[in-house]
Amino acid sequence: MSAVAEAGRTIERPVSRSRRLKRSPLGKVLIKVPFWFLIAAIFVYALFPFYWAIRSAFTPDGEQFSTPIDYWPANPTLDNFREVLSTSTFQHALINSTIVAGAVTLISLAVGSLAAYALGRFRFRGKSAVLYLMLSMTIFPQIAILGALYTMITDFHLYDHLTALIFSYMIFTLPFTVWVLTSFMRGLPGDLEEAAYVDGATPLQVFYKVLLPLIAPGLVTTGLLAFIAAWNEYLYALSFIQSPDKYTVPLSITTFVGKSGSSFQQPWGQIMAATVIVTLPLITATLVLQRRILAGLTAGAVKG
């Protein structure tokens, strides 16, 4: 960064030059300016698209589709939100996505925490094999099994049912849950269970009375990440769901035509209102739990 500030100066030995620059008050400012400029650029880059969605959601159609465009809505309106929330496809989609993502998360946590208990607190043969299996599943491309899933789901008469999604989403939520919860289980102190065992507790009692409360924060984070993954899924939803009243949120947002059903101009104001409605809870949850999410993400990735 200091290179910019140094450019106009006479050439001396590099070390002393940069030191002297840092000491003078003017030099301090000259170093700081490009730095803060960079910070501002990152800030704008990360937030502008989301700002634009919010701005478009509050802009009435008359201004939305006229040039030159306004960067700030002159006459903000809630019409787009009202319209989109009264559309039955979108209402259904919110409910459907909540059901699917909720069920997938609960099942993954229940099954995954038991497996994590075994992998994190027991010593047995074949443990590393199971861990490798779970790890390879987390990078498993979903497209690789689409053909078989498609025929299986039809054979079970699950095509166009939400159950098909709950079933197929386990492939990416469960291994991830197992992997992350295992690292939480391992992180607990070594001889934690011993006292309970001495008192005659069974392994299952130790699990839900001693260990589960201790990894509760981990469960929340992992559950949230699994929920987000299921909430966002598109490929399987597109392939296994057909009728609009079974649509999940991603499906409804990409096929939204508004109440009038006009295909001449896409109702971008309403679509953006929908994106804001869908995204806001996710962003809020992420920000509230940001420290834990970072820990969870890096446990799943960096420690791999």
Binding site: S2, L114, I143, A148, T151, L174, V178, V278, V302
Partner: protein, 310 residues
Amino acid sequence: MSTVATPAPAPRRRRKSRLQRRQSRIAWLLLVPALAVVAFVALYPLGKTIYYSFTNQEFLAGIEPTKWVGLDNYRTLWHDEIFRHSVWVTVRFTLITVVFEFVLGMIIALVVNSKFRGRGAMRAVMLVPWAIPTVVAAQMWKWMYDDVFGVVNDAGVRLHLLSHSRAWISEPSTALGAVCAVDIWKTTPFVALLLLAGLQVIPRELYEAADVDGASKLQQFWRITLPLLRPAILVALIFRTLDALRVFDVFYVFFQNRPDTQTMAIYAQSTIVGDGHVGYGSAVSVAIFLIIGLFVIVYVTAMRVTGGDE
């Protein structure tokens, strides 16, 4: 970086005690539900997909019965121009996005790693693009790219970067770049956060010592930061590459299955679900699986080779 993964002490080479045997039985019992789900939802379908790829399986039972066709599907695939083009599109997308995300992510991580006021807010801001669902992000950008009322055209013309408005998505020359920009925007923060986690475990004293010895910031970056960050870099690169190779959502939202901008995953999906050619589509899936596997092997070997001198 493996603070959690402390290896268990090597088991003593002794006769297994009763307790150990009991422990291992309980552990396997606890694993049964998870393993059953994985077997049923992943392993069995994988085996079945591989089997389908050697048959002429159709979704709707036709007049012709389903039969074993050997390597026919793969032979057709080898000469399939549409598939070849989809591989080319996917590989170009992967190269562009991974390079940009890595370079930008590194810059952002270095900036956020230095101490300044508002650093916490900055890290929160970085999570915003990550938290937005891919499909939703794609829709947001699609609107920004609108050829008449889009903000990209408007800002470009106002700032004299563009001489006239363009149809970014429908013009073949800009389509790939437009879609890459969305992915770069959405995942650069994630890469930055991974690298940041790696940066933060590098001991401060190393830099202090280097300062005392009079090493410049650039020298410190090349000699201290990069080598110590290597594990985090490799993990970030692997994750991003594997993700990019199976890309589906952004492309589908932007182009559906428009032939010139079809990725491998879109070709497989439209062959299986759209056309109902389950057998041939499965062969496409298996090919994708193998291509991704190839990349994994290359990366893991690279990691072994470069990690050998540690």
